[in-house]
């Protein structure tokens, strides 16, 4: 199960680093935190391409849910910019 441990540790380190960096930069928008965390999650999950097929299927389901949330938030942001509100 060492590959699972490595994967989870990578996710924890990445999200910790992102949250600390954004807090230091003075970011106060929760949507930005969520979007960057989701991007990091998707990238790390893609890098672990050698996980077994059952794990890949389970992670793909979570990735799809997160990607949907990411797309909704990005669309809302884009609409707000376009309409100027």
């Amino acid at each position: 199960m060492r590959i699972y441990n490595k994967y989870i540790v990578s996710l924890i380190l990445a999200s910790g680093l992102i949250n600390i960096s954004l807090a230091f930069l003075g970011q106060n928008d929760l949507v930005i935190y969520f979007i960057i965390n989701v991007i990091a999650y998707l990238v790390i999950t893609l890098l672990y391409a050698y996980l077994n097929p059952r794990a890949r299927r389970a992670l793909n389901t979570i990735s799809i849910v997160l990607l949907a949330g990411f797309l909704v938030l990005v669309s809302l942001k884009a609409m707000r910019i376009v309409t100027g509100r």
């Binding site: 949250n19 954004l22 929760l30 999650y41 077994n52 794990a55 992670l59």
Partner: protein, 244 residues
Amino acid sequence: MSNPYRILGLGLCLVGAIFAPVSYFILNSVPLTAVGISAIMIGFTSIALANTRPYISPEACQLILKTGMENTAALLEELGLRNKAIYLPSAMRDGHPQALVPLTDGEDIQWVKTKIPGRLIVRYGANPGDMAISVTTPGSMNIDLLETKPGPTSGEIEAAATYILTGVLDIADSVTVSQVGARLEVEVSGARLYYEDIWYYRCLGSPVASIVAAVSSEALGKPVRISEESYSKGKSRITLEVLP
């Protein structure tokens, strides 16, 4: 419930679900809310991974592997076979890759034109003495785990071996393969089932070498023999000889 990934996942989800609203509504802290959301995301991932763990314990798997190896080793010792096994691709067998342990030592093999039958004692060459014991090895069984048949380049063999050893079986950290003429040089880092100087391993190679040999044989579509295998400083070095 004893699954550590499920415990970690449920813990992270619970902590995140409490921490995120408290941080957002009471503490008015966006960064702490983000930490709570991240904990929920990683928690769900951990729960998902917990459901993909094998149903049998690693100890049970080791027991089954050792039983199979002991039986094959007893057969080899009883027959006094010391020749190195030849790993055959599934195309040369009846759709299932296996290893042949020749009864006599012959360098120049004239392979039979037809497929080698799925029996214990088989004739593999044109000469009357070209007889061998046909055995199923850990490598033979693992070919079914590949989603597609790998291509013949060293990169494709490396990717297939990494997928099985690192991703599916989790018995090594990384694999590198380089092709030098009719030889394949394989280096396996962090191998958990390394080479020991016992009869079974001298004939058929360690389970890691067996898997690499079976994958290489299937990828190249040619018979392959483990000519050398050594283990030092956490690395297994395997030399495979590709037979004509």
